[in-house]
Amino acid sequence: MARLENPPSAESFLPLTAVVFEILLALSGGDLHGYDIMREVEGRTSGRVSLHAGTLYRALHRLLRAGLVRELDELEERVSAADAANVDERRRYYALTRLGRSVAVAEAQRLASQVTAARQRRLLKGSAS
């Protein structure tokens, strides 16, 4: 897949699908491998969203091609993993790219503005700040 000369703007990706946003959200906390992402999403949503490998990697495939996520090489993995002894060579670790982070931020802002709108129309309780 050829790299694009001019990276697209973060806004051009919006709105994100729920799965993609969950993955970006998970990776914003640090570099993770596939199963970690699944666990992170499940834990954060208290099991309401459960991600399986098929969907996850299909989405990761797209994220990698779009340049929102990149795969860590082995050296980075060792440095990145909290417990260096635990690095499994067969695993792939993923990290957000700069573009990926800005897409996640843009999506979060979009959602936030929608939440704000919802509060202003009294759909949600809480201060409409």
């Binding site: 694009l4 098929g54 990697y57 495939h61 797209r62 091609r65 695993r91």
Partner: protein
């Protein structure tokens, strides 16, 4: 094995299945993410297992569904369109449009199926059952009947037998006949193998190795090359240079630890050094399974022997020669020999049958029966799935009508239903293949040993392709049928009648249910007939007892070359065994009933005082050499006269005959005191006096009528291959060790060729029937269940559709019994129609079962009636449940529905 290891092994099986699903993804994707996806699945599954069995099943099911759906989606969408529309420019336009639209359909279909988990699960499970069963049986049929033999040009290979014209049976060839055939045949290469036994010592426990002594160029004729070393050289078929052997792959692996340096090693066989010159590859020795091959050296007496028939002869057609030409040549050779040796060969023809045909002849009907049965199950499963889809589409007609009104074309609707079917059948195909992976192992374990090449049966590419083809056809059938009601041209009409079932749809569904019921009846009747046959066989009077009896075979020809010492040896051994604790009786015979081994002889005999019959027309009887204790040890019954005793010395030859022989040779006469003359191998011509009559024994098989037979005292003809039977107070296995101890106390160098219990022998005899029966019964029970589920589904649906009508009837005064009757009548009409068709079909089809039946006719009225009643009862229950629901309808609510 530690539990931990076991646990990890369990999950790897599931992981492998998961890996199998990854085949759905495009190769590039699979290469990139396959391993890590498997790892993620493994971690997730293991974590779920910590939370309990239910959680792990849930997670595994969700993960499999997920991987299948996203695999299909990934393969269908060639772009990264979700995120980056710009990257999609390269795909050609029509393909993109199709992909896009069909991917959309798939997504819609997946969503809809997810919202109806019960429906999805039932359809997938039904189809998976059908596909799994079909794949399993097809695997066995493929492995046994369709795969070519592992020999060079296997179609050129023949087995050659002697054909007894007067008896109309095939016999193994004799050595002199084989040699003459080989020397005279020009169109066919012949080679022979002689069954033999060599005792191996010096490598672990002494063991009697089943051996073939093979003629020159045996392996070349067969068309196999050794895996290690070489085959025999021509000069090795000469006395003095013959001490070489070739090992089977199995023996090489188990006895010699797959030693790659085995060639050249010396082995002690029958106390003499033999050099190993080669090892054969695995999978070639299914033909007359043996452990070891040695070169055959023909002795002078063998070159003259035409009456002893025990060789196995194979032939290979020379290039360009047809089977008919070879048969013609063999026929003229047998005619010549008949003229040259009228006394022995006048009656002997030559039967040449292609090797493959002979190997599979006995199992072919069983396997084809299974294939037919499993085809019925698949048809029922498909009908059931189609029915469920139809019922659902009927219920969703208003949705479809709305879609049509909003601009969806009929083609769109068909595509949507096809997409659903594709998802369902893909899932079912994968589940079916997984089921069949497990079921094949089960079938192989259950199957009787005489099905050739069973160990090679496995899930092969061809079989998987077959499952995929079945799934594709099913997808087409199930996909198109539900869409049929929408081929009607008027949207308005379908909108108006949306809530009611359409006539075509319900008639089609009723026909499907009737068809299922019919097929189920056919299967039930077939398995019912087999069950009755099996019961009849179990009730056959064997003429002896099988419980608490162990049987060990020893060949002592080489240990005791002199006949008198052989006689003494078995007498000593029996005395020792009788002293062992727990042994109640002991005796020996040259051949046991139902063992199909040992030395079975049925030479002709003449009766003293009667004129000598013309050659070839003298009566024959089965001869067994027995020690005096044998009758008691095996539990045979004395009818008249006396049994054999230790005092029956060689000077006064006697025999004990069976009842059939008494009736057939001396009808209405007193057999005791009569004399017969026969020539027995190792004993020559002798006249023997009948001293007793014993009950008949099923010697050959349970369903064969007893043949004339007589028993000769071992002391008078000291045969060297005897099976010792010990009756024990306790378990038969204690008898085995008692016999071993007793024999080894007399001579520790004796190796046992066969160790069995008599009930084990009986079990082996029944194994092919039990196998057929088990499979066919499981298929027919599955068919019964599927058909009744189909009927239940049809009636539930119909009751649902007619709620308002029933409500009105009840409001107008119909009572509960009349509503029950209304619904039951409708359902039973469908079921009875199907059953009538099924009974007719069964009447026609069960004729093909005749060869497998025993003690019951193919149109046994009891079986037909009993199973029809069963089917009717099950159908009645399947109708009653929805009918009861209908009768509880509250008229007010019912009429409010619309």
């Amino acid at each position: 094995m530690t539990p931990r290891l076991e646990a990890s092994r369990g999950s790897t099986a599931l992981e492998r299945c998961y890996g199998l699903c990854l085949a759905l993804y495009p190769p590039a994707f699979r290469r990139r993410f396959g391993d890590t996806m498997r790892l993620a699945f493994r971690d997730q599954y293991r974590a779920a297992r910590q939370r309990g069995a239910l959680a792990s099943v849930k997670v595994a099911a969700a993960a499999f569904a997920d991987v299948i759906v996203s695999g299909i989606l990934e393969r269908l969408s060639r772009d990264a369109g979700d995120l980056l529309p710009a990257s999609n420019e390269s795909a050609p336009l029509p393909a993109r449009r199709f992909n896009g639209r069909f991917t959309g359909d798939l997504r819609t279909a997946a969503r809809r199926l997810r919202h109806e988990p019960a429906f999805t699960a039932v359809v997938v499970a039904t189809l998976a059952l059908g596909i799994g069963a079909t794949t399993t049986i097809f695997s066995v049929v493929e492995g046994v009947l369709l795969r070519p033999l592992p020999y060079r040009e296997p179609n050129q290979l023949l087995t050659i037998m002697q054909w007894s014209r007067s008896k109309g049976i095939e016999e193994q060839p004799s050595p002199a006949n084989f040699l003459d055939w080989r020397n005279r045949a020009r169109l066919i290469d012949l080679a022979a193998a002689e069954p033999y036994s060599l005792d191996l010592t010096g490598v672990g426990d002494p063991a009697a190795l089943d051996t073939w002594r093979v003629s020159e160029r045996y392996f070349e004729t067969l068309g196999v090359a050794p895996m290690l070393g070489r085959t025999f050289r021509p000069e090795e078929h000469v006395q003095g240079r013959h001490a070489v052997v070739i090992l089977s792959h199995g023996l090489w692996r188990t006895r010699f630890g797959s030693d790659p340096g085995i060639v050249g090693r010396m082995l002690m066989l029958d106390g003499e050094p033999f050099q190993v010159v080669g090892v054969m590859p695995a999978g070639i020795d299914f033909l007359w399974r043996k452990h070891i091959w040695a070169p055959k050296v023909f002795r002078d007496y063998e070159r003259r022997s035409r009456s002893q028939t025990y060789y196995r002869v194979i032939g290979r057609l020379k290039t360009g020669v047809t089977l008919a030409q070879a048969r013609d040549e063999l026929a003229s050779i047998s005619d010549q020999l008949g003229i040259e040796y009228p006394r022995t060969n006048k009656d002997v023809g030559i039967a040449a049958v292609p090797l493959f045909e002979r190997m599979t002849r006995s199992v072919r009907p069983i396997l084809f029966l299974m294939l037919g049965a499993v085809g019925c199950v698949l048809a029922i499963a498909c009908a059931n799935a189609a029915n469920l889809l139809l019922a659902r589409s009927g219920a969703r007609q208003s949705e479809m009508a709305v879609r049509t009104a909003l601009g969806a074309s009929r083609r769109d609707l068909v595509r949507l239903t096809l997409a659903e079917s594709l998802l369902l059948t893909t899932a079912a195909a994968i589940a079916g293949v997984l089921i069949s992976k497990w079921a094949i192992a089960l079938v192989v374990r259950l199957a009787p040993a005489d099905i050739p090449r069973l160990d090679e049966v496995g899930l092969h590419l061809r079989v998987v392709a077959c499952a995929v083809a079945i799934a594709a056809i099913t997808a087409l059938v199930c996909g198109v049928m539900p869409a049929l009601p929408f081929w009607s041209p008027s949207i308005e009409r379908s909108l108006r009648s949306a809530a009611r079932s359409t006539g075509t749809g319900s008639r089609l569904r009723a026909a499907l249910v009737a068809g299922q019921t019919g097929l189920a009846v056919v299967l039930l009747v077939a398995s019912g007939l087999l069950i009755r046959s099996f019961g009849a066989l179990l009730n056959v009077d064997l003429g002896y007892r099988v419980d608490h009896r162990a049987a060990l075979t020893a060949h002592v020809w080489d240990l005791y070359p002199q006949p008198e010492r052989r006689g003494q040896f078995f007498a000593d051994v029996e005395a020792r065994i009788a002293q062992q604790p727990g042994v109640l009786a002991v005796g020996s015979a040259s051949a046991l009933p139902l063992s199909h081994e040992g030395s079975e002889m049925d030479p002709p005999f003449t009766v003293a005082g009667r004129p000598e019959p013309p050659p070839g027309e003298a009566p024959t009887a089965l001869v067994t050499f027995v020690t005096p204790g044998y009758f008691n040890a095996i539990g045979m019954r004395l009818v008249r006269g006396r049994l054999l005793t230790e005092r029956d010395l060689p000077a006064s030859p006697v025999v004990v005959i069976n009842e059939t022989m008494a009736k057939r040779i001396w009808p209405g006469e007193e057999p005791i005191g009569q004399r017969i003359t026969s020539s027995l191998s190792f004993a020559g011509l002798a006249t023997r006096e009948v001293v007793g009559v014993v009950g008949d024994v099923r010697q050959e098989g349970l369903q064969d009528r007893p043949q004339p037979a007589y028993y000769v005292p071992h002391r008078q003809v000291p045969f060297g291959s005897m099976t010792i039977v010990a009756r024990t107070a306790g378990d038969a296995s204690t008898g085995v060790s008692s016999v071993e101890r007793g024999v080894w106390a007399v001579n520790p160098r004796v190796a046992f060729a066969g160790v069995e219990t008599l009930d084990g022998l009986l079990r082996d005899t029944l194994a092919p029937r039990r196998f057929t029966l088990t499979l066919l019964s499981s298929f027919s029970i599955a068919a019964l269940m599927l058909a009744s589920i189909g009927l239940y589904g049809l009636m539930s649906f119909s009751v649902g559709q007619r709620t308002m009508e029933i409500g009105i009837r009840m409001a107008l005064g119909a009572d509960v019994p009349s509503v029950l009757a209304l619904v039951m009548r409708q359902g039973l009409a469908v079921a009875l129609g199907g059953m009538a068709a099924g009974l007719l079909a069964a009447l026609v089809l069960t004729r093909y079962l005749t060869s497998m039946l025993f003690g019951v006719t193919a149109t046994d009225p009891l079986t037909f009636a009993g199973l029809t009643v069963t089917m009717a009862l099950v159908s009645a229950v399947a109708c009653y449940l929805p009918a009861r629901r209908a009768a509880r309808v509250d008229p007010l609510n019912a009429m409010r529905v619309e």
